[in-house]
């Protein structure tokens, strides 16, 4: 059954004719662009310049127009029409996107892989037009560890491995232990991690502080099992610190160490730290510090005491109103003026304090949003049970509020990770800073692109993973109201 064909109105009666004709035209147009970009063959070279340029678009457009038949009964065709071919405008846009993808693939591929050089360890191997990954390979240690001495880099590795192991306790803990996990994460884990990263990486005499810390932590955890549940909170608040101080100042005297011929680790000053590991260290500490500070100011901003409220508002608005770079400037040039003359704070510590305070203001605003979103009933119910301010917040309000603001907090932490490169202001060089240093090396001039692409890929993976993780967390803790 053949009915009259009207090419301006594709219809279902001549489905096959339109389908074959349309698909053919569409495929021809894609093939034209494909050949053009991959094999630099120009099928339409005989046409005048401008027309030759637009030819595939016109062809593809006509093709898509022909196959735009509603309710054709063919499942794939209907899906195609629904998704990329709903009307003329969408068809053109779809075609453009397909063409752009096909056009941009060959140069990207050839730059990244085909023409790129991987082998060797001097600049001479990089003669091709592609990327010089040799550069990244040679400078890898510097990009990862900064100016940290090569022989000591196992310390950084060990610290991070230990950190990951400690962090993963939460996944493998049994339910019996999960009760204490909050305490572990809030008090013990940061303490151990701090000792681990800061003292282990810097080494020197403070290495022993680290070992005291570990001993104190382990001892107090073991003793903790014999403490009745009622006092556990106070116990873990006081005992580990007390043990640590006891160990440091009363038991293990320095002479004792020298007697035992224990050599400390070499001291590595913070100026030598750098690269990606510094990015992690700064993000990690700022993350640990900014959360409690932010929480305190969020509560302060909703406090009933006017003076506390004003101070909190002032703090939050001040930090939110200024750019991070000026805050770091302040920590670099202005802050030393505010301290007693013989009092010196390491510039890494200063940077960490500055970033923590800065991000704390953002965390405070996010948490305040969560607190405001809770219905009044929650507060009233908690109060009617006779709970005081702290009990009410710790057991009723904050757990719910924090659950609500997981995405917001994750965004703030993401911003924190993305802000770490700014520490170049105080003279610390994490990965981006190291890249800038490496590209000015006379032996390796002209590879800025490779370096930035490399760092971009690393940051992208970190940030994307974080955002996906926060999404999962959000789904996990979602409670219906």
């Amino acid at each position: 059954m053949m009915s009259k064909i009207n090419f301006l109105r594709p219809d279902k009666n001549n489905l096959n004719t339109f389908l074959y004709l349309g698909s053919f035209l569409f495929l021809i147009s894609v093939l034209d662009v494909f050949l053009n970009s991959f094999f630099s063959l120009n099928l339409t070279g005989f046409l005048p310049g401008f027309l030759s340029f637009l030819f595939p678009l016109i062809l593809g457009f006509i093709g898509l127009y022909f196959i735009r038949i509603e309710f054709s009964g063919i499942k794939q065709l209907d899906l195609l029409n629904k998704h990329i071919n709903t009307n003329n405008f969408n068809a053109v846009l779809s075609l453009l996107i397909i063409f752009v993808i096909i056009k941009s693939l060959p140069p990207i591929l050839s730059w990244f892989v085909i023409d790129a050089s991987f082998a060797g360890d001097t600049k001479d191997v990089c003669t091709g037009s592609g990327a010089c990954w040799t550069y990244i390979k040679v400078w890898m240690r510097r990009f990862m560890y900064g100016m940290y001495p090569n022989a000591e880099q196992w310390r950084i590795n060990l610290s991070f491995i230990a950190l990951v192991l400690m962090g993963s306790v939460g996944y493998f803990a049994t339910d019996r232990f999960k009760k204490y996990l909050t305490l572990y994460y809030v008090v013990i884990y940061p303490l151990i991690a701090f000792l681990f990263i800061f003292f282990f990486i810097s080494g020197g005499p403070v290495f022993f502080d680290f070992s005291y810390g570990i001993i104190a932590a382990i001892l107090s955890i073991i003793l903790g099992f014999f403490i009745p549940a009622k006092y556990k909170f106070y116990y873990f608040l006081i005992v580990p610190l007390a043990l640590y101080i006891t160990l440091k100042y009363f038991i293990f005297f320095e002479e004792y160490i020298e007697l035992g011929k224990l050599d400390g680790l070499n001291w590595v000053e913070t100026g030598a730290w750098g690269g990606l590991s510094l990015t992690f260290i700064i993000s990690f500490f700022c993350l640990i510090f900014c959360f409690p500070i932010g929480m305190a100011f969020a509560l302060g901003r909703r406090s009933n005491f006017p003076l506390i409220r004003y101070i909190s508002v002032g703090f939050i608005e001040f930090w939110r109103g200024v750019p991070l770079i000026t805050v770091l400037f302040m920590s670099a040039v202005m802050f030393p003026m505010f301290l007693p003359e013989d009092f010196f704070i390491d510039k890494l510590v200063r940077a960490i304090i500055a970033i923590s305070l800065f991000e704390a203001a953002y965390v405070a605003e996010v948490i305040r949003g969560g607190l405001q979103a809770l219905p009044r009933g929650q507060y009233e119910a908690a109060k009617s049970l006779g709970m005081g301010y702290w009990k009410m917040h710790i057991f009723v309000i904050l757990p719910q509020a924090l659950k609500l603001v997981i995405p917001g907090i994750a965004n703030t932490f993401l911003a924190l990770v993305k802000d770490t490169p700014l520490i170049f202001v105080v003279g610390l060089l994490e990965i981006v800073g190291m890249l800038n240093l490496a590209k000015t090396n006379p032996k390796w001039l002209g590879f800025a692109m490779e370096g930035y692409v490399f760092a971009a890929i690393i940051f992208w993976i970190i940030c994307y993973a974080m955002s996906k993780y926060s999404y999962n967390l959000e789904q996990k803790y979602k409670t219906d109201r």
Binding site: K82, F305, R320, P323, T326, E341, M449, F459, Y464, S467
Partner: protein, 383 residues
């Protein structure tokens, strides 16, 4: 007034702590400054600055005062922020709408753009554009003209300059058009309220804004001509374009990265806003006989804007604050000119950093106050 000890004590402790900390800092600062022989004061602002700035909107050289250097930096910051905000808004709205498109390819393309650009640190993007991408541009003598008048070279973008004759007449014609449009809008509203008739305000406005300036060309003697940049040889190997307006590569890299980065966030705001308007609203509007245009204009947009505008303003603020990263690529913005060069020269750390911070603070707080006012104005009036 009933004073309770329980209410007073925590506040007193907090205030005392804050006062103590500030007092400690001030005390130390005074001692430190005495020891180093620095005196505190803002008098240096009127002194001669004796440094040069390579890109400035107002006339400036070393003989001007530090205050003028501050103004130069501030204007450069504002320039980059305004351009960035305009581009970011346009791009963000397009991408945000594209993310809601039923077209699978467009949707994914927009999603790819957003996920790609917002997960890479802004500073890295700025470095990438400035040190890698823009360095790959041709030298001035090798540059090919874009549309015959633009020249994109390693030394910056050269665009033709407008040369106006009787610019004031043109300017007044635009102002007259705007006033006329406002009058017509008020009139149209009154007519609609009294008689129920609708006047095509939009078409009339478009017509006015084109016709009045056009008339000024025909009758008012307004003329316009372009000064196209011309290649000029300075030395055997050194070329430069003369005439027209030159935009330095720092400015290009900065606006490009700022707007590409911020557009991703604006796109998400726009998407959330449009998604936030209930489907029922659209259907209800259609069922009472509004045309699709009216549905968009009278029902969807007012509600979507209510959701979109507050977070978008926040992004504008972020963009303005992020423009301070200019210091990293030596674009002479407020931070570089004032907190950088001027601080190095005068050594007045406290004064200069405080002025810089105060400037950003004023900018942020005034915008947020404006936003709060706007929010209150458009908030749903609940009875």
């Amino acid at each position: 007034m009933n004073f309770k000890l329980k209410d007073i004590v925590p506040q007193l402790i907090t205030v005392t702590a804050v006062v103590l900390v500030f007092g400690f800092f001030t005390y130390n600062a005074q001692i430190n400054m005495e020891n180093r022989g620095i005196d505190f004061g803002y008098g240096f602002l009127s002194q001669e600055s004796s440094f040069d700035v390579q890109f400035s909107l107002i006339e400036y050289d070393g003989s001007h005062s530090y205050f003028r250097a501050y103004l130069v930096g501030l204007l450069n910051t504002i320039l980059v922020s305004v351009i960035g905000i305009i581009i970011a808004t346009i791009l963000g709205v397009i991408v945000g709408v594209a993310r809601l498109s039923p077209n699978y390819l467009i949707n994914k393309f927009a999603a790819f753009y957003v996920e790609f650009f917002r997960n890479i640190p802004l500073l890295l993007q700025i470095f990438f554009w400035y040190f890698a991408a823009l360095r790959a541009l041709p030298l001035p003598q090798d540059a090919e003209a874009i549309f015959g008048v633009f020249f994109l070279t390693i030394k910056g973008l050269y665009v033709p300059a407008f040369i106006w004759q009787n610019f004031s007449v043109f300017f007044y014609s635009i102002i007259a058009a705007i006033i006329a449009i406002i009058v017509i809008r008020i009139h149209a509203k009154r007519v609609q309220e009294n008689q129920g008739k609708q006047i095509p305000v939009f078409l009339i406005s478009i017509g006015l804004i084109f016709i009045l300036p056009l008339l000024s060309f025909l009758i008012g003697g307004v003329g316009i001509s372009f000064e196209v940049p011309v290649l000029k040889q300075l030395a055997t190997t050194s070329f430069i374009y003369e005439g027209g307006v030159s935009l330095p590569p720092e400015l290009i890299a900065l606006t490009l990265s700022l707007s590409l980065y911020t557009a991703t966030f604006i796109a998400e705001c726009v998407r959330a806003g449009i998604q936030g308007v209930g489907k029922g609203q659209k259907e209800a509007a259609a069922s009472i006989g509004l045309t699709p245009n009216q549905v968009l204009k009278l029902v969807i947009m007012p509600q979507a804007l209510r959701i979109i505008i507050p977070p978008t303003t926040n992004q504008y603020l972020n963009l303005t604050k992020n423009s301070s990263l200019a210091a990293a690529i030596a674009y002479p913005d407020l931070v570089l000119v004032f907190a950088g060069t001027a601080l190095m020269q005068t050594g007045k750390a406290i004064e200069i950093v405080s002025i810089t911070m105060f400037t950003y603070l004023t900018l942020s707080i005034s915008i947020s106050l404006l936003m709060n006012w706007y929010n209150k104005k458009i908030a749903i009036q609940e009875k």
